[in-house]
Symmetry: D3
């Protein structure tokens, strides 16, 4: 169950409204690296968490935090849109940019659909699609997905931080970057509790590896047209990271099987020539 | 540049065609955990890789492998669909299941759109959306995304393996599970080359951490309604996983700022009551 | 800012797990009439609310409630999935249905992607798309959208209630139906505060109606091929509902303008025959 | 069955072609507030209308009108695109804006995909998704959805009207705004025929309210972290709008149930640690 | 401008309602091969047609026809859904199929979202996406897209015809198949008017072929890993179909260029190791 | 099975990086007319090809070629993005365009999501959706879909060629345009092998035409509101293109059937007024 207090988690200040930066911030709301994604991902992972309940608690607690981040960013978007022109006449009165450059550079939906407010869309106006909520029912797979989400999330926040000169916006982003630092570490720590590299991997660790084709389990195979080996690296020699094998390098021999589906069945809508 | 040889990477055999299992296999083609996703993700990461070219080579080499996995699975889907009924009359002639259970249990598009062939859709008929191709321009973020992709991918392959009794299909899945084992290890090895936990994290490691709000960088904060701390764990104490801080546990004090956008502007399409 | 307490808003009990009902419940989570939709819609409307702050508070308070509804439903989905078969062997052991009828009737992603947990998808496995979050920047338009959302939401809840015999599920749905009753009334009450039918409409009420083509503002026009009037009703006579006009019935006279774009420009990629 | 006469419903005139305004107009074609949406929504509601056939007729008649609106807007988009540059050279020859500002401000698909013609996309180039067609099988729910669609539709048309100085475009929009005025009134009138606030609500009115948890049906509940009541208003006291209850204000007591799914099943793809 | 007469273009009769066939018919409404697609494609092509106006008329006339096809199919879907169970109790009373086979085999949205009516979705419940409306601004490209649309459309109609035993449904499909026969021929005839194979191709025929790399314009190139030529055929020898060249068969020599983006720029969010 | 050699199929050179042209090129990668579409379409058609195996080989061979085109274009996008500003400060230092015109004219995701690299999105930032992969199981329908894909593909390439002045980019596009010329001819040649106009059409040619309503099979029907015939042309007289009938022109007489679904069933969620 959730509660709110109508306060912002961290202060949001915009010194100089910039509609183009509003557009950029939309990526942190509705982009695949954004806050809706992590809020909903942790939420659904929590709802499906089986086993030790502490992971459910950790996930739902962080989901609550991320909801507050969406709220902060949505406020920041609306504040940056305050100065947007509503008409060509207003655009022409803004002297520091060429005619059309402000409106043309905005997500027009931020004006036309939402009346100068934030939307669950990315920086090019594409709505967020909830298929990006990875909640696998495997707690270790979920943790790796979360590390990945926070890695791209912090990368995005850093790019936004580098893009703006607004000290208010920079201050807010410094906070969000710090939280992403923590969250990357937090999910890595959870992976450590789950056994770390050698205990949790290969995910899922509940599958008996003896049943897989073990000759392919730690082989770095080349798919180079001339049969050469691809770039060498840690992945081609030495003990495997999961501690359960030794990396080898090789080249796959294709099977002799040429895929052949034969003729089509009558009544299947194929051309007459395809039907046996 | 790419080449093909019209052979299957590993033999695909179906002992007893099963249209419902064809539907399940579609998840491994067009699901977010599937092979189109990894093939295209590694492909686009390779195309955008800057810095040491060995990562580009590693990525594109593996993309070529994954393209062959799509081909294998698409062949397996078509072979499992061979026995599907094309009409109610055929359905009724199939004696081992109730009328309607086969057709009703299939993705109907596998019959109606593709004529008993594979499609780039998931197990519920939803087409794959390329927004799932994570290629961030940050090589370490890409590697974490790849570990996550292979973790969910191997989990899916294991579930498919557990679902079927067909020895041909089990054999093919044993191969794919083994490759997912390797790929999880491979991307973890790449992360190790990039500095491992303490060198690569927090991602991006090129951002000067002094500029972030460091008091929040390693703090495990509670968002519990009653002010209590959430579930304790490795994430709340001890050195941080990235080796750059020490975990602490606390509770966030909200800012005093209540979000307030004030009145709407005339001409912005708001109600009269909202306009100042 | 948001908080959680890891308790369910209302008890969730499943007497007899039913994977098909789990699929149906998914519509109430990730369908366009579902709880993600209302939670996020009220959230974003709150974040963009300008003018009297009481509407922001009302919206965000209700958003918090709806988040708890998602949590309840996600728990219900997972509980209904408990009895789902993981393999054909398990399916065959379940004696009360035909082979394939359970698995074939499920959203397979609820097994293959989430390991028997809820997902942000609808009852046919389609992920929720955030373009359904209507937050227009016009508070009255938002309220009408909310009435519509709760009308379809309660209709869905009633259909689910009628579908199941499980007393636990019926109890939970009785609660959700009651809340939808309240929410329909709540948004209608907000419309009343905004002036009701004659004060709030036509939305937006800030546009000077003198500037619209008033001869078309209250005319019920027929588009019947034989020139006859369509079905008569309240919409064709008497005072308009907004109190600002009188309904009339007529037939539109098309303009004489035949749309004609002329020839295509050289270099525009048209066929030679199209280029002037 | 449908017929056409190749004439425009109302004249479309563009005095000064503006590619950026073409982009804005796309929102009124393919945006969620646009004309495809209402045309198809009324069409599908008509096709599924059960009960008194006059509602089917009303809906299909208005669908025919809205198809003509798409045609008008598509013509307007193409006419506004007439002056778009096809090359950097042409762009540089246009002297009133900065290089790149015209092309950069357009939907590039309006040039690259459609050769300076309209598309079923919104103002940021996102294609219309037919999941926005609300046709619920409940005639009152449909009418509320239609009021909401016309409320956002008229808000959009007003914003477009405010954005442009082109007298031809303003004239066309004055017509469309007037029709939206009528359509808002028309669907409200239909709701009145269906019993109005007290007869039609709560929707669906065919569900026996005695079966819902009536103690929650008219209670305005607070979800404030500190237990305080949220903003007071008409929704918290007095008779309910549907005339069937009395508003009360309170605070929800969470259930004691902590969601707990227990351990995962063997073979479900969970980590070993999650399996009982 | 459009008109309607509330009559069906061709009679729609269902002898024995079948909810599974209703699901199959949805593909012909909202599938990518379905009637919404062709109706809207011809509509938008008409709206963007430049050059000889007879193509606009032809297109819009056929769009009007296709709108009537959607109406017929939507009626057929609703009629087939008449017998669908609304509850498990009703399902159990239906004796000719296993419990769960009917509901599990339906698109549940046809019950839960639309109350036993048609929706703009395909046979697996996926909503139609308007990005499938191909309207290129090149009249010959449009005609080829239309031939393709009608080819897949008629294939689908034939599959539906083969699937059912219902004489009413078979009769309706015989009509739709015949119209698809005509429409394939109609668009081919339009291509003939546009110059046929040698006049219209390569599309666009307005591009001066001398500016393309002509040594690659009619060469059938092999991309076989062992350097062998792929399957021979008409495409590898003889005059080209457009009459402007001669087919030759060869093997592409890759360029010597290895793609290399060099180092990443500081501030671009890359890892430190990628930055020069 | 697939192989790579890490070389570009044809040289990619950018003389003067242009972030706006990078955006335009994205259409050729992730647009519906782009290279992902053809690569994956030929791939899936090959995987589902039944009958004469030479078509499978032809398709998969061309799929391999198209994968190389994606690689070329992705490289071109990244090279054009090299000069993009990362911050407002950098933007202001670029003197040849107005402030905001470069960033505002870009797909911001090319900066924020991918760090100046290509993505599987179109020129307005919309991700490619794999529902555009037409693979019908009917080889002739597939070939017509391929002609259509290459027709829109070459039209797009010509538009890009006309847009830029960069000689490197023009050279690359001359190559791609030539390949599109070949591919249009190649698929037309395959249609010729399948019997050409009179042998392959109407598609599918395996359906006995005697079972369709032949009086409608070659009739050009008018749907004009005033009953007049639409624009005359080759499609209204003379032998049909498929050689199996004679075109006639007429006007459809609607059926007498008015669609009427009657009353709604109790328990279906309709309003009380709709229930019989």
């Amino acid at each position: 169950m959730f509660y709110t207090d109508n306060k912002l988690q961290y202060p949001v200040r915009v010194d100089s409204p910039d509609p183009l930066f509003a557009r950029a911030l939309q990526q942190a709301i509705g982009g695949v690296e954004g806050e809706i994604r992590v809020a909903m991902q942790y939420f659904f992972q929590a709802c499906g968490a089986r086993g030790n309940p502490k992971f459910r608690d950790l996930l739902m607690n962080t989901a609550a935090e991320e909801l507050g981040h969406i709220e902060m960013l949505a406020t920041a978007v609306a504040m940056n849109l305050e100065g947007a022109p509503l008409s060509m006449k207003e655009e022409m009165a803004a002297t520091d940019r060429a005619v059309g450059a402000i409106m043309g550079g905005m997500n027009l939906k931020n004006l036309l659909s939402s009346g100068l407010s934030a939307m669950p869309i990315d920086s090019d106006g594409v709505p967020f699609d909830m298929s990006h909520i990875y909640a696998s029912g495997n707690i270790a797979a979920d943790m790796t997905a979360n590390v990945a989400a926070e890695a791209t999330g912090r990368t995005l926040a850093v790019r936004l931080y580098n893009m703006t000169d607004d000290t208010g916006m920079k201050d807010m982003l410094q906070y969000l970057i710090a939280r992403d630092t923590m969250h990357q570490n937090q999910w890595l720590a959870a992976l450590e509790e789950l056994g770390g590299m050698t205990g949790a991997f290969p995910i899922p660790n509940s599958h008996p590896q003896a049943e897989e084709k073990t000759e392919f389990s730690y082989a770095y195979l080349g798919f180079q047209a001339d049969g050469s080996a691809p770039a060498p690296g840690r992945w081609g020699e030495g003990p495997s990271i999961d501690g359960k094998g030794t990396f080898a390098t090789g080249k796959l021999q294709p099977s002799d099987q040429k895929p052949d589906l034969g003729m089509a069945r009558p009544g299947s809508g194929a051309q007459a020539e395809q039907i046996g």
